[in-house]
């Protein structure tokens, strides 16, 4: 904070300085003033400034873009004679700094070295009234004519220098210097988030450039959304790319919630799997039928017992394959219908589908409540979503337990307050306390090849089914509670 002031108006400026400080901090400390007339004068100024500050806040309130924010500064009546504003931005730890150069109608951005930035920053900080002549910019790449006003800001991640110039050689007026001092603490609140946003926007622009000039041939589909995740530059926040139907592609910082992205992923995956499945079904059902017919035919032939048994096994395998195809059709039905379905049946179908992973996993299905039938638990739900949740929980359990000699998954059905509780507990290594907190976070994964979307999607699907999916804190093994509304429609 500046303590000294120009010798001429020392007393007045000192007290006003304190008023400004007071105003910006909005604390009710009484300034140390002796002259009553001055107190009155200051208070009058104070209230005027207070109103003006409020006006300024209102003016800047809704700005999310740094550049339009700076353009607004030109519109302030106190700054109307100024023609140029520089905003020098240095991200701490970077070798290069950014220079945003604004006139009333243009924006230009260039880069320059951190040494120049640091020297300028320090000399502004040390200066008495933050008013400079052209000479101070010698050796810097900035093109400002005449004298200028400057203020430095130090933020958490960035250092910023604000330079306001008139492009003439007249010395800056006392009023101008005073105004900037008054304005600086107010601006400080706005510049920090805007600079951070801008930095991110610049990085996305760079990222887009890299993609465009990439030697890799990215195949983007117009009107679709691509999501890039795990990019260090964005602190692992996913970047959503919208492919504009008219231009090549556009990149935007994703503002939607992460769960929405999980939804998009899920929707696209279901559609894709649905298409894939239909093709497979068409391509497989005919040859399978041929096999079925010919094995039936063989059974009519004069075979000895061994041969007969053998062909019968072939026949059963074919029938099982046909059943799997039929079940798949129900699982990847992309309709959003709720209908009465048997939870046990769906669970068994999913076990069939996950057989390659869950083969060694011992299934312990237990019905806790007497009201429930162990072969038929009917609820009104969506089979695709329910199967997707079962699928993830079973595969996760199977993967977690794969090192064990006797892996098992206990599934317990309980009826409580008209809700069906399905608890999945495995005997694997379990989930640590910190992990339990993050386990449903999209893109969070502990697997080498995981997307981190599985459980996030499941939690959302459980919600869509009118229920919930919770991860329980246990001493050993992972434990999940899937809670679904119990009951079925009358028809």
């Amino acid at each position: 904070m500046e303590n000294s002031s120009s010798s001429q108006n020392k007393k007045v400026e000192l007290s006003l300085d304190k008023e400004i400080e007071l105003l910006s901090k909005s604390k009710n400390k009484k300034p140390k003033l002796v002259n009553l007339a001055k107190v009155e004068k200051t208070l009058a100024q104070n209230s005027k400034q207070f109103i003006y500050t409020k006006k300024l806040f209102k003016n800047f309130k809704d700005d999310t873009d740094l550049h339009s924010f700076v353009q607004k500064l030109f519109k302030l009546k106190e700054l109307k004679h100024f023609s140029k504003i520089h905003l020098l931005v240095h991200e701490k730890g970077e070798r290069e700094s950014l220079n945003f150069e604004y006139t009333k109608s243009t924006i230009n951005s260039t880069k320059f070295s951190v040494e120049i930035f640091t020297n300028l920053f320090n000399s502004i900080k040390k200066s008495k009234d933050r008013s400079f002549g052209e000479i101070s910019l010698k050796g810097t790449p900035f093109d400002i004519m005449g004298t200028f006003l400057a203020h430095e800001f130090s933020f958490r991640f960035h250092s910023v220098i604000l330079i306001i110039g008139r492009d003439d050689f007249l010395p800056q007026q006392k009023e101008d210097k005073f105004f900037l001092k008054f304005l600086a603490p107010i601006l400080k609140n706005y510049i920090e988030p805007l600079v951070e946003n801008t930095k991110e926007a610049e990085q996305i622009k760079m990222f887009k450039k890299v993609l465009e000039s990439s030697v890799y041939n990215f195949k983007f589909y117009k009107g679709k959304t691509c999501i890039f995740s795990n990019i260090n530059e964005f602190k692992n926040k996913p970047v959503k790319i919208n492919i504009d139907p008219d231009s090549y592609f556009l990149i935007d910082k994703d503002n939607s919630s992460l769960l929405d992205q999980a939804d998009i992923f899920h929707q696209e995956r279901v559609t894709l799997l649905g298409d894939l499945f239909n093709t497979l079904k068409h391509e497989l059902s005919n040859p399978l039928f041929g096999l079925q017919l010919s094995s039936e035919l063989l059974l009519l032939e004069d075979l000895d017992d061994d041969q007969h048994e053998f062909v019968k096994e072939i026949n059963l395998s074919i029938k099982r394959s046909q059943d799997i195809i039929e079940n798949f059709k129900d699982l990847y039905d992309d309709n959003l219908e709720f209908k009465d379905l048997n939870v046990i049946e769906i669970l068994n179908e999913v076990f069939t589908l996950t057989k390659s992973k869950s083969r060694n996993l011992k299934r312990l299905i237990h019905i806790e409540s007497k009201e429930l039938d162990e072969s038929q638990i009917t609820i009104n739900s969506n089979s695709t979503w329910l199967a997707q949740i079962f699928f993830n929980l079973i595969v996760n359990a199977a993967e977690a337990c794969q090192e064990l000699s006797s892996p098992e998954l206990k599934i317990v059905f309980t009826l409580e307050n008209n809700s069906l509780f399905i608890n999945f507990t495995d005997n694997g290594p379990g989930i640590s306390e910190e992990l339990v907190r993050d386990i449903f976070t999209p893109f969070y994964t502990t697997k080498d090849k995981g997307t981190g979307l599985g459980l996030a999607i499941c939690k959302n699907l459980a919600k869509k089914l009118g229920g919930q999916l919770n991860c329980l804190q246990t001493s050993k093994g992972a434990s999940f509670d899937l809670i679904l509304p119990y009951g079925y429609s009358d028809n």
């Binding site: 068409h282 059902s285 005919n286 040859p287 039928f289 041929g290 017919l293 010919s294 039936e296 009519l300």
Partner: protein, 123 residues
Amino acid sequence: MDILIIEDEILIQQSLKKLLEKFKVDVDVTSNGKDAIELIKNKEYDRIVCDLMLKDITGFDIIEESKSKYDLKEISNKFVIITAYSSEQVLEKALGYNCILLNKPFKNIANAIKTMIDGKLHE
């Protein structure tokens, strides 16, 4: 009794042929539509078992070609359509010819064979 089987999945074609032959039926087979049309024009069949999706043309094209030889009533009696893809449109079109339509895979193979022989639907 003579039956023509038009089916391009060889295992289905040959199995049906052998199954029908067990019922003392004479069976001709073909995998493509062009040959089927020639056979229909040059020989008298009691039944024509026809797959809808062939590599060159569809079963409906074969039925249309047969109109030069048979009237609508004969067509509805002679043709048995077998298909794996029974969409609404396919069903409607088959009904238009008043033909019997069997979905692949057959729910009951014995009943399907009976249908091919007597031209009546057995549930």
